[in-house]
């Protein structure tokens, strides 16, 4: 090979450049990420997932949930609104002023200006900020996902395809463990027309013994099991449900500001 060294050098530079771009730069940018403060509170975010939820992440991963579900919410902007906190000593003047002002669907600057006007009139107003975007309109979260949301996830499961809904805050939307478990056992029995495959191998269908198990799933009316049988979740199913309940990416953060 006549230009062996040149070819080696070119290949080395190409690989080193992509390594710098895909490994070194993100590591430098986010490698030192730590827990951050929740906006205007003394809480920190995120909290370590409880032990069973941390195990549930591995069940989530093993069952390929990320093939159909994402855990990342997009946002395309914010919208501000003005909320009266105290009418003050002259409530009539404040109410009259407020009837002339636009109070919702504002930019942050306009909302600040309106709040300042209300303050001058003697009242006290707060500017509330909400995130906007298609995902947020679907009710999949209050704000966009940011890197710190995944701080304690070993093997992050952001997903890239949405055959099902986004799960970034499923623990807020469906906070009931029984809902999560019955939905895993019989998705279409819980959400009508759901194309999700049932994960029945995470459960055990068995004859009721002397007394029904306290762990048995409680199905909604309209879904019936064979008479004398009950469905018991395996530890994996319980861990997966605990993980889903721990997905609550809703806290207002400095990097993703919203009003609590």
């Amino acid at each position: 090979m006549k230009n062996g060294f040149g070819i080696f050098l070119a290949a080395f530079v190409a690989l080193a450049a992509s390594w710098c771009g895909f490994v070194l730069a993100p590591e430098k940018q986010l490698g030192g990420a730590t827990e951050t403060a929740v906006l205007n509170s003394s809480d920190t975010y995120p909290l370590q997932r409880p032990g069973d939820a941390a195990l549930g992440l591995q069940v989530y991963r093993a069952n390929g949930c990320a093939a159909c579900h994402t855990e990342q919410v997009r946002q395309d902007g914010i919208v501000a609104s003005v909320v009266l906190v105290k009418p003050g000593k002259n409530p009539e003047a404040v109410t009259n002023l407020m009837s002339t002002l636009k109070l919702a669907g504002l930019s942050k600057e306009d909302a600040d200006a309106a709040a300042a006007k209300i303050k001058t009139a003697g009242g006290a107003a707060e500017v509330h900020i909400a995130a906007t975007g298609p995902d947020i309109a679907r009710g999949w979260g209050m704000r966009q996902s940011v890197a710190v949301d995944y701080l304690y996830d070993d093997v992050v499961q952001p997903g890239n395809l949405r055959a099902g809904p986004d799960l970034a805050n499923i623990g807020v939307r469906e906070p009931d463990a029984n809902w999560q478990l019955t939905h895993l056992y019989a998705p279409a029995g819980v959400v009508k027309g759901s194309p999700m495959p049932p994960f029945r191998y995470l459960f055990e269908l068995r004859k009721i013994g002397d007394a029904p198990s306290p762990d048995a799933l409680r199905f909604a009316a309209g879904y019936s099991l064979p008479a004398g049988y009950e469905v018991i979740p395996t530890p994996e199913a319980k861990e997966l449900a605990a993980y889903l309940l721990s997905l609550r990416a809703n806290a207002p953060l400095h990097s993703a500001p919203i009003s609590p």
Binding site: L30, L39, N40, S41, S42, Q75, H128, I129, P252, P257
Partner: protein, 202 residues
């Protein structure tokens, strides 16, 4: 065999094909540089130069700051409250009233409301031990130097917060004030006693 047919013969097994060096067309160089430039501009626009706090749809730290629900002086006050509840509120209580046998009140305390800041700044930086009187009541307790581990800005925010909350009204403490006292105290200050504190200028 004529010469013409000889040249048309296929090359033998020992033949090594080779390419001559040639210059890269200047247009390719220009287009590459323009693309690199546009890419850099795009990165700058989208990521505020890799600022880890800034995510799309925000394109700069200023824009993100302006979008905070509370900004400016109100944000500093909120930060002071936040640090207070995390560090001080456990003993002095979140309402500043203190807790019996744990910590004296801060609301209305003559040490908190003093005209100058220096004596107040000494307390969280050096700690206290022994008896002292606050609002006419005797307290015989120890306080660790809780503020020593805080940054100048955080401690200043906390002290400003306790001087302006729960009915307290006194001017703000700046990070420079804290820095000056910290430099004066050195790295390992001894806890102050009640008498030392009392005789200390405000």
């Amino acid at each position: 065999m004529s010469d013409e047919t000889k040249t048309a013969n296929p090359p033998g097994p020992e033949f090594e094909p080779s390419a001559e060096r040639s210059d890269v067309p200047i247009l390719v160089v220009v287009i590459t540089l323009v693309l690199l430039f546009l890419g850099a501009v795009y990165f700058d626009y989208k990521s505020a130069w890799f600022n880890k706090e800034v995510y799309s749809p925000y394109t700069s730290a200023e824009q993100l700051e302006a979008a905070q629900p509370i900004s400016g002086a109100a944000a500093a006050a909120a930060h002071g409250k936040q640090v207070y509840e995390l560090v001080c509120g456990v003993c002095h209580n979140t309402d500043g009233q203190g807790k019996p046998n744990q910590a004296p009140p801060l609301a209305g305390s003559e040490y908190v409301l003093a005209k100058g800041h220096d004596r107040l700044i000494h307390i969280p930086l050096a700690g206290l031990s022994g008896s002292m009187s606050v609002e006419g009541k005797d307290w015989n307790l120890n306080m660790a130097p809780m503020g020593a581990a805080l940054s100048d800005a955080d401690l200043a925010a906390v002290l400003t917060y306790i001087r302006s909350s729960w009915g307290n009204k006194a001017d703000e403490v700046t990070a420079d004030d804290v820095k000056a006292v910290r430099a004066k105290l050195g790295s390992r200050p001894q806890p102050l006693t009640g008498e030392q504190l009392k005789s200390m200028p405000e």
